[in-house]
C-alpha cells in the first residue's frame, strides 16, 4: 500500500439552479477513486455552498495512482427522486507522484457536464503521501517525468538520451457496446471519458516502466494519440524519447534556455565549435550503438525524389492470412524486409527520437525526410490485453522508416512522429521523421559503467550481425572523422550519404560556409531549425494542399484504391512544396508535416513546413516555365507573362523575407565551384524563351526549376502557385518553434484555435475543382487569422498547426492551433538593416567573421581541389537525370495516367552565390539580441489576477521557466440535443473550445502553474446531425504545466554560462 491520496472539498460557486421552485440547489459531492467513494454533507439551498469537508483518504497502490483519475461528482440532493448530477471534475494526480513536479493540487475547477458544459466551479484540495517502494518487480513507474516538449526541457540538462519508447493499449469503445443502446448519452460519454483517462494513465505507467528499464528518468517529446476505430475499438498509443535528465540549479540556468528566442543567434555567433567540445555530454567513448551504414544500394529504389523518401505503401489486410502481417506487399519493400528480418532482434530497437530540438553537438548530419504510410483494414480487437495486430502494424511502419533512413546513409531518425487517419474501416497509418546522424556520445555515457553497457548490448546487438557493409570499428572511426572535420554551424547540412552513390537525385555542391563538405541543393526536415544554423533573412510558412477524389468502395477494394493514390499525393505535395519554396527563394524546409486524411469519397493532403534560406546551402535557382509548343505566338506570350509573374513574385519575396545573399566573390576564396556553372545566369524571360528547346534536352545543367506546361492542369498548378495570397504587412508565420530572423519578442502573446467546416455543395467536383476549393479554404482561414490578430502587428504566427479531416461525405474540416507573438518593430528594423549592410561596415560583424575564420582555418588546410570539384559536380547532373526518369517511369507504370508529363528538376549554381562564407550572415545578430533583452526588460509585470498563458511553443518569450509541474493530458466529450438553441454548430463548438481552454487553465492554476507550454490539440472530432438538432464533439489536448518568471524579475542573475560549466553542478539540487 504505497500511497495515500487525500482530498478535501472546500466550496462551490456559481452552481446552476437545480430546484425550479426555490431557484436554489441542495448540493453535495461524491469523491471517488478506484472503487472507493466518499460523500460530503448536503449543503442546502445555496448556489455557493461551503462544504469544508474533512480529508477523504484513499489508501491505494501506486499503480492505481498512476492509472486512475480522482473523480469528483457534484450532485443535487433530492428527497423523493434520484439525485441529479450537476457535473464532474476529473483530476489527474500524476503530477503529484513526482517529487520534482507539483506538491499539491488546490484551486477552483470548472464542474463539467458532457451535455450542459461548465456548470459552476468547485474548490478542491488534493495531496498524496507516497511511501518508498523497493519492490523491483513493481508495476508502477512513479517518478518518471513526462514532457510534451520536443526539446530538452528548459530547466534540465540531458545527461543521456536513451532513445525511443512506445506503447499502445486497446479497449472496446463504450460508445459501441450493447449497453449504449439503453443508457443515456451522458452515461455513455462519461464512460468514454473515464475509460480514456484510465487508458492514458495505464499507457503512461507502462511507458514509464520501459524508461526505468532503460535506466532513464524522463520521457521527452511524449506524444499520445487516440484512434477511435469505431466498432473495432479504441486505441491509445504513445511514443516518446527516454532520457536521463538532471535538474539545473536555479542559479546556473543557462541563458540559452532562458532566452530561447535569441539562442540561435548567440549560438551562431559565439564560435559554436567550442560549445560542442566543452559539452558535458561529450564523454568520449566508443560506440556500440548503431553505426552509420552509409550506402544501402538495394533500398535506393525506395527513395523517389529529392530528400524525400516516400514509401510505397504497404497494403496489408488483417483477418486474411495468418500471423498478422501476411498479405500483399509492394515490390521493392520485399527485398528490404527480407534483408532486415534476418535479425529479428535488431528490429526491436528503433533509433528514433521524437525530439525536434537538440542540445548543441547532438545532431551531426541531416539526410532528409523519411516517411512511410500504410493502409489497413480495421477489424475487431478480440483480445484487448494483447494488442498484437496494432503493434505489428506500427512495427512494420517503423521498420520501413528505419530502412529509409539507412538508405539515406543515416543511422537515426529525429523529429519522429506517428499519426493515423480513419474512415469507417479503413485506416492510414503514417510515420515520418528526419534521417540523421547523431553524435553517439550522447547515447553512450552509460557505457562507462560496465553494467550499463551489458544491458544495452543485450537489447541491441552490435550492427555487424545485421550484415552491414562496414564493420563496426570502421564506422566509428568514420564518425569521429566526421565530427572533427565539420564546423558545427553548418555541419548538419552536410550530406550523410555517399556522394557517388546517392540515394536520390540531388545536386551537390560544396558547403557555402565551410567549403569543405558537400551539401545538397535543398534540404527537407521535420525538425526545428537547429540553434547553430546560419540563416539568411526570415522564414515563412509554406503549405502544399491537395485534394483527390476517389470512388466510394468497401473493404479491400477501398483500401487498394487508397494505397494506389497515396504515392501520387505524396509526389504532388512534394512538387508543390518545392515550387513554393523556390518561389520564395529559399532552400530548406523545417518542421515538415504531411497529413493525409481519408474520407469516403476523397483524400486530403496537407503539407506544412517553414521555409528558410540556409546560408550553407546554395542559392535556389528560379522557376522556369516551359511550353510544349513554342511555335504558337499567343502561347509563347502567355508563357512569357506567366514567367514574368513568377520572376516578379520571386523578387518580391526576396524583399519580403529579407533574403539578400551577398554577391559572389568566389574566386577570392577559392571556390570549388566550376566556372562553367557559375557563369550562367538565369534571369530574364527573353533568355528563357530562347533556351526552351535546349532546356528540354539538357535540363540537368540548368539552374532553374523547370515547370513544363503541357496541359491545362499544369497551367492551373502554376496559377495556384501564384494565388497564394501574400501575408499582410507586419505579419510573419512559421510552423516551427522559432522564426529565423526575429529575435526581439515582446511578451504579447495570443494562443488560439480556429476550426472551420465546409460543405461542398457540388458532389461532382473534379480534382482540380476540389484542389481549388481546398486551397481557398486554407488561404481564407489564414486571412481570417491575420485579420483577427491585426492588433498585434508586428507579429509572427508561430507553430501554426493545421489539421484536416473529412468528417463526412462532402464535409472538409480544418482546425488550426497556433500562437501569435508580437515583436518590437524598431529593434527589428535595426537588426534587419544591419543584416543588409555589407560585412565590412559593422565592427561587430568584422570581429565575428575574424573569429569564425580563425576557428575554421585548421580544417581549411586541405582545400578541396578544384579539379575534383569539377568532376564531382559534373557527375551529379547525369545521375540525377537518370534517376529522375526512372522514378517517373515507375509512377507511370503504377498509374495509367500521370498528370504532368515531366517535371525536370535541375539547377545550376547561381552566380549570385555567396562566397564570403559564414561571416556576415550571422554577425549582426548580437545587436538584435542585446536589444531584445532591453525590450523585454521594460515589459510590465502581469496583473495580479491568476492568468494562465498557453502556447504551443516550448518557451514564453521574455521569461524563464523555473519549474515543470507535470503533463496535462485531457480528453473531453461534449454533446448537445439542442443544437439550435445553443447557437448552431458554431455556437456549440465555440463554447466547447472555450470550456476546454478554461479547464486546462484551471488544472494548471491548481497545480500552482501560470502557463502551459507545448500545448497542442491532438484531436477534434466533430459530428453533427442538424435534423435531429444534435451534435457531438471530442477534443484531446495536451501540454506541460509550468511556472515561469519574467526575465526582468531576474535581472540580478548574471548572464548564463555555457552548458559545459553546468556539467559540474550535476545532480538535481533543487528546492
Amino acid at each position: 500500500m504505497p500511497g495515500k491520496l487525500k482530498a478535501k472539498i472546500v466550496a462551490g460557486r456559481h452552481l446552476p439552479v437545480m430546484d425550479r421552485a426555490s431557484d436554489l440547489t441542495d448540493a453535495f459531492v461524491e469523491v471517488k477513486f478506484g472503487n472507493t467513494t466518499f460523500k460530503t454533507d448536503v449543503f442546502p439551498k445555496s448556489l455557493n455552498p461551503q462544504w469544508n469537508s474533512e480529508w477523504f483518504k484513499f489508501e491505494v497502490d501506486d499503480e492505481d495512482l498512476q492509472d486512475e483519475p480522482l473523480q469528483i461528482t457534484v450532485l443535487d440532493h433530492d428527497t423523493y427522486s434520484a439525485n441529479d448530477a450537476i457535473g464532474k471534475v476529473y483530476i489527474d494526480i500524476d503530477p503529484l507522484l513526482c517529487s520534482e513536479a507539483a506538491t499539491r493540487i488546490c484551486g477552483w475547477f470548472p464542474i463539467y457536464d458532457t451535455i450542459h458544459g461548465i456548470r459552476g466551479e468547485i474548490n478542491v484540495l488534493v495531496k498524496v503521501d507516497l511511501f518508498n517502494d523497493l519492490n523491483s518487480f513493481r508495476q508502477s513507474s512513479c517518478g518518471v517525468k513526462f514532457f510534451c516538449t520536443t526539446s530538452i526541457p528548459r530547466c534540465y540538462r540531458a545527461a543521456l538520451v536513451h532513445g525511443f519508447v512506445e506503447e499502445l493499449v486497446v479497449n472496446e469503445d463504450p460508445e459501441y457496446q450493447w449497453i449504449d443502446r439503453i443508457r443515456t448519452p451522458r452515461a455513455s460519454n462519461e464512460a468514454r471519458q473515464r475509460l480514456i483517462s484510465l487508458m492514458s494513465g495505464e499507457l503512461q505507467r507502462k511507458i514509464g516502466l520501459k524508461v526505468l528499464e532503460m535506466g532513464g528518468n524522463a520521457v521527452v517529446g511524449y506524444l499520445q494519440c487516440f484512434d477511435l476505430e469505431g466498432e473495432s475499438g479504441l486505441v491509445v498509443r504513445a511514443i516518446g524519447t527516454a532520457c536521463t535528465l538532471d535538474k539545473l540549479t536555479p542559479g546556473t540556468a543557462p541563458n540559452t534556455n532562458t532566452h530561447s528566442n535569441t539562442a540561435p543567434a548567440s549560438n551562431a555567433c559565439n564560435s559554436p565549435s567550442k560549445d560542442s567540445k566543452e559539452s558535458p555530454l561529450a564523454h568520449g567513448c566508443r560506440s556500440t550503438h548503431n553505426s552509420p551504414v552509409r550506402s544501402a544500394c538495394s533500398s535506393q529504389r525506395l527513395s523517389h525524389s529529392q530528400n524525400f523518401s516516400v514509401s510505397v505503401p504497404t497494403l496489408v489486410f488483417t483477418g486474411m492470412g495468418s500471423g498478422g502481417s501476411a498479405g500483399k506487399e509492394a515490390g521493392p519493400l520485399k527485398t528490404l524486409l527480407r534483408q532486415h528480418t534476418q535479425s529479428a532482434l535488431e528490429q526491436r530497437e528503433f533509433p528514433f527520437f521524437t525530439l525536434t530540438c537538440f542540445p548543441p553537438g547532438f545532431l551531426v548530419h541531416v539526410g532528409g525526410v523519411v516517411s512511410a504510410r500504410s493502409v489497413k483494414l480495421l477489424d475487431r480487437i478480440h483480445n484487448p490485453d494483447e494488442p498484437e495486430t496494432r503493434d505489428a502494424w506500427w512495427e512494420e511502419i517503423r521498420q520501413e522508416i528505419k530502412s529509409h533512413a539507412k538508405a539515406l546513409g543515416c543511422h537515426a531518425v529525429v523529429g519522429y512522429s506517428e499519426s493515423t487517419s480513419i474512415c469507417e474501416e479503413v485506416c492510414i497509418l503514417s510515420a515520418s521523421g528526419t534521417a540523421a546522424m547523431l553524435n553517439p556520445r550522447f547515447m553512450r555515457e552509460g557505457c562507462l559503467d560496465a553494467g550499463g553497457s551489458d544491458h544495452r548490448l543485450s537489447r541491441q546487438p552490435p550492427l555487424n550481425v545485421v550484415g552491414s557493409e562496414r564493420i563496426e570499428g570502421d564506422a566509428s572511426s568514420a564518425w569521429f572523422g566526421f565530427e572533427d572535420a565539420s564546423p558545427p554551424s553548418c555541419g548538419f547540412c552536410h550530406i550523410p550519404y555517399d556522394e557517388f552513390n546517392m540515394p536520390f537525385p540531388a545536386q551537390l555542391t560544396y558547403c557555402y560556409r565551410c567549403r569543405r563538405q558537400k551539401v545538397p541543393d535543398v534540404l527537407f526536415t521535420t525538425i526545428d531549425l537547429p540553434a547553430e544554423a546560419a540563416v539568411t533573412g526570415k522564414g515563412c510558412l509554406i503549405q502544399a494542399r491537395l485534394c483527390r477524389t476517389k470512388k466510394k468502395a468497401q473493404g479491400e477494394v477501398n483500401a487498394t484504391a487508397i494505397s494506389n493514390l497515396l504515392p501520387f499525393m505524396e509526389y504532388e505535395l512534394h512538387t508543390q512544396l518545392m515550387n513554393k519554396l523556390k518561389l520564395r527563394s529559399m532552400n530548406a524546409l523545417f518542421g515538415l508535416r504531411i497529413q493525409i486524411s481519408v474520407g469516403e469519397n476523397m483524400l486530403l493532403g496537407l503539407a506544412s513546413a517553414t521555409g528558410v534560406y540556409l546560408s550553407a546551402l546554395p542559392a535556389p535557382g528560379g522557376i522556369q516555365v516551359a511550353g510544349k509548343t513554342p511555335s504558337d505566338l499567343n502561347y509563347d506570350q502567355h508563357i512569357a507573362t506567366m514567367q514574368k509573374r513568377i520572376n516578379d513574385t520571386i523578387t518580391k519575396n526576396k524583399e519580403l523575407y529579407n533574403i539578400h545573399p551577398p554577391e559572389s566573390t568566389e574566386e577570392l576564396v577559392g571556390s570549388p565551384i566550376p566556372d562553367r556553372q557559375r557563369s550562367r545566369l538565369f534571369r530574364s524571360t527573353s533568355e528563357s524563351s530562347d533556351e526552351l528547346l535546349e532546356l528540354d534536352l539538357s535540363h540537368g545543367k540548368k539552374d532553374a526549376f523547370v515547370l513544363e506546361i503541357d496541359d491545362t492542369d499544369a497551367v492551373e498548378d502554376i496559377q495556384s502557385l501564384l494565388t497564394d495570397a501574400p501575408m499582410p504587412a507586419g505579419f510573419y508565420s512559421c510552423n516551427t518553434e522559432v522564426m529565423p530572423g526575429i529575435y526581439n519578442w515582446t511578451s504579447g502573446l495570443q494562443m488560439f484555435t480556429s476550426v472551420r467546416v465546409y460543405r461542398l455543395s457540388n458532389a461532382n467536383l473534379t480534382n482540380q475543382g476540389l484542389n481549388k476549393i481546398f486551397t481557398e479554404l486554407c488561404e481564407n482561414l489564414l486571412k481570417s487569422l491575420y485579420f483577427k490578430l491585426r492588433s498585434m502587428i508586428p507579429c509572427c504566427l508561430c507553430h501554426v498547426n493545421f489539421t484536416v479531416a473529412v468528417p463526412e461525405e462532402e464535409l472538409i474540416q480544418v482546425a488550426v492551433t497556433a500562437v501569435a507573438m508580437s515583436f518590437d518593430k524598431d529593434t527589428q528594423q535595426a537588426a534587419d538593416k544591419a543584416l543588409n549592410k555589407g560585412s565590412g561596415e559593422n565592427e561587430d560583424q568584422l570581429q565575428f567573421s575574424m573569429e569564425l575564420c580563425a576557428d575554421s582555418t585548421p580544417s581549411n588546410n586541405q582545400p578541396t581541389s578544384k579539379p575534383s570539384g569539377v568532376s564531382e559536380s559534373a557527375l551529379v547532373p547525369s545521375s540525377s537525370r537518370d534517376r529522375c526518369s526512372t522514378w517517373l517511369e515507375l509512377l507511370r507504370l503504377k498509374a495509367h495516367t500521370i498528370r504532368r508529363g515531366s517535371v525536370k528538376t535541375s539547377r545550376r549554381t547561381q552566380s549570385l552565390a555567396h562566397s564570403v562564407s559564414s561571416a556576415e550572415r550571422c554577425s549582426p545578430l548580437p545587436e538584435g539580441r542585446s536589444r531584445s533583452l532591453r525590450s523585454t526588460r521594460s515589459m510590465p509585470c502581469g496583473a495580479p489576477v491568476a492568468v494562465v498563458k498557453m502556447t504551443p511553443l516550448s518557451f514564453l518569450p521574455g521569461t524563464r521557466i523555473v519549474k515543470y509541474l507535470g503533463i496535462i493530458n485531457m480528453f473531453f466529450i461534449r454533446e448537445t440535443t439542442s443544437l439550435r438553441e445553443e447557437g448552431g454548430v458554431s455556437g456549440f463548438l465555440h463554447c466547447f473550445i472555450a470550456e476546454v481552454f478554461a479547464m486546462v487553465r484551471a488544472h494548471v492554476a491548481a497545480l500552482g502553474g501560470n502557463a502551459v507550454v507545448s500545448y497542442s490539440m491532438k484531436e477534434c472530432v466533430f459530428m453533427e446531425n442538424p435534423n435531429k438538432n444534435q451534435a457531438q464533439c471530442l477534443i484531446n489536448v495536451s501540454g506541460d504545466a509550468v511556472i515561469f518568471v519574467r526575465e526582468s524579475e531576474q535581472e540580478a542573475t548574471p548572464p548564463l554560462m555555457s552548458s559545459g560549466q553546468i556539467s559540474s553542478t550535476g545532480a538535481d539540487g533543487t528546492t
Binding site: R13, H14, W108, P110, I118, E121, P728, Q750, M751, F752, T753, S754, V755, R756, V757, Y758, R759, L760, S761, N762, I773, N780, K783, S784, L785, Y786, F787, K788, L789, R790, L811, Q813, A943, V945, V947, V948, K949, M950, G983, V985, S986, G987, L989, H990, C991, I993, A994, E995, F997, A998, M999, R1001, A1002, F1022
Partner: protein, 368 residues
C-alpha cells in the same frame, strides 16, 4: 461550397470594442459588417467581406456567451470560461450598462414592469434606438432596480459595488432607480425640454438631502452605521420630513410674514437685477408656488408631480419674464436666506433642507 462552421477561440478572449458597440446597439451581423466595411477596416488589413463577416460572427457569439456573466458583473471577474484582462472586463461592464440618453428619458419615472417593456417598440420607433438595444437597457434598469431593492445601505455605493460600475454611471443608475421607485412624472410635454442629466442631477439632490439615508449623512450627528441598516433608505423620501414640510405653510398663509419676506428680498435685490420689477410684482405668486409644493408633498400624487409643479409654478413664470440664470440664482439665494431673518419663522433647519434642494434643482432645470 458553404461554410458550415467557423469559430475562432483565443486563450485571451479577443474583443473588438467597435464590434462590441455594434452588438450593444443591436445591429444585426450583416449591418455591422456593412458599417465596418464603410469604416475602412478592409483596406487597412487587406481583408475580404467574408473575413469581416466571420470575425463579426465570432465576436457576436463571444458577446452572447458573455452576456449571462454581465448580468451579474462580479461573476465576470472570477469565472473561468473567458480569460479577459481586468481593464477589458471593466470596459465590457461599463459599456454594457451604458444607456442612451434619449431612451432613458422615455422610460424615466415609469414603472419597470412587463407592460412598459411591451411598449418598447414604440419607444424604439420614437427614439431611433434599436429594439434590441432598448430591451437590453430596459432589462439593465430592471435588474439594477431589483437587486438594490433588496439591499440595505447607500444606493450609489450598492450599485457601484454590485455592478462594478464607475461612480458616474452608478449615480445615473441610482437616479433611474429613484425615479422608477417614486414614479416621478417626466413625460409631460412641459418637461420635454429637460434632459436625463437634468433629472439625474435633481435625483442626486433629492437622494442626498431628502431621503432617510440623508439624515445620517448630513443632518444628524448619529453614526451612519445605524442608517446603513435601513432598507430603501436612499430610495424613499423621508416621511417625517415630508410631514414637517407642512409647517412651512406659514410663510404664505401669514400675511405679515409674506410681506416681510418680500421686502427683505426686494431690499437685497434692488439695483442688482434687470428684472427687479417683474420679480417684485410676482414675488407672492412665486413664493406661494414654492411653499405649496412643499406643503403638498405628503401626497404620493403630488410627489409624482414634483417636477411638473416646479416648472409650472416657478420656472415658467420666470421664463416668461425673461429672467436670466443669474437672476434666478440671485433671487433664490436671497429668498432662502431672508427667511432666516424673519423673526416669527421657527423652521430654519427644515427650510434650508427644503430650499437647498429646490434651489439647485431649479437652477439645473432653468434652461431652454
Amino acid at each position: 461550397m458553404s461554410v458550415e462552421l467557423d469559430v475562432f477561440v483565443g486563450n485571451t478572449t479577443i474583443m473588438d470594442e467597435e464590434v462590441y458597440q455594434f452588438w450593444l446597439d443591436g445591429y444585426t451581423v450583416n449591418d455591422a459588417v456593412k458599417v465596418r466595411m464603410e469604416g475602412g477596416v478592409l483596406e487597412e488589413c487587406e481583408a475580404s467581406a467574408e473575413v469581416l463577416h466571420s470575425d463579426t460572427m465570432d465576436q457576436y457569439r463571444t458577446f452572447q456567451m458573455c452576456e449571462r456573466l454581465l448580468h451579474s458583473p462580479a461573476k465576470l471577474a472570477n469565472q473561468l470560461l473567458f480569460q479577459i484582462p481586468p481593464h477589458r472586463q471593466a470596459m465590457l461592464i461599463e459599456r454594457y450598462y451604458a444607456f442612451d440618453g434619449v431612451f432613458v428619458r422615455e422610460v424615466l419615472g415609469k414603472k419597470l414592469s412587463k407592460g412598459t417593456k411591451k411598449d418598447l417598440d414604440d419607444v424604439s420607433a420614437k427614439t431611433g434606438v434599436t429594439l434590441k438595444s432598448c430591451r437590453r437597457q430596459f432589462d439593465n434598469f430592471k435588474r439594477v432596480f431589483k437587486v438594490v431593492e433588496e439591499l440595505k445601505g447607500p444606493l450609489v455605493e450598492n450599485i457601484r459595488q454590485h455592478f462594478l460600475l464607475s461612480d458616474q454611471l452608478a449615480r445615473n443608475y441610482a437616479a433611474i432607480v429613484f425615479f422608477a421607485n417614486n414614479r416621478f412624472e417626466t413625460g409631460k410635454k412641459k418637461l420635454h425640454y429637460l434632459t436625463f442629466q437634468d433629472f439625474a442631477f435633481c435625483a442626486g439632490q433629492l437622494i442626498s438631502y431628502w431621503t432617510v439615508g440623508a439624515v445620517g449623512d448630513n443632518l444628524s450627528p448619529q453614526s451612519p452605521d445605524v442608517y446603513n441598516m435601513v432598507e430603501d433608505m436612499d430610495v424613499d423620501l423621508e416621511k417625517q420630513f415630508l410631514q414637517d414640510l407642512k409647517e412651512l405653510k406659514i410663510l404664505i398663509t401669514d400675511k405679515d410674514l409674506l410681506d416681510q419676506h418680500k421686502s427683505l428680498v426686494c431690499t437685497a435685490l434692488r439695483g442688482k437685477t434687470k428684472v427687479f420689477n417683474e420679480m417684485e410684482t410676482n414675488f407672492k405668486n412665486l413664493s406661494r408656488g414654492l411653499v405649496n409644493i412643499a406643503v403638498k408633498l405628503t401626497n404620493t400624487k403630488d410627489v409624482r408631480d414634483f417636477f411638473i409643479d416646479l416648472v409650472e409654478k416657478f420656472i415658467e413664470p420666470c421664463r416668461s419674464d425673461k429672467w436670466t440664470a443669474g437672476d434666478m440664482r440671485l433671487f433664490l439665494t436671497h429668498y432662502t436666506n431672508s427667511a432666516h431673518i424673519l423673526d416669527t419663522f421657527k423652521h430654519q433647519v427644515l427650510w434650508d433642507r427644503y430650499m437647498g434642494v429646490i434651489k439647485s434643482c431649479i437652477l439645473k432645470m432653468y434652461h431652454d
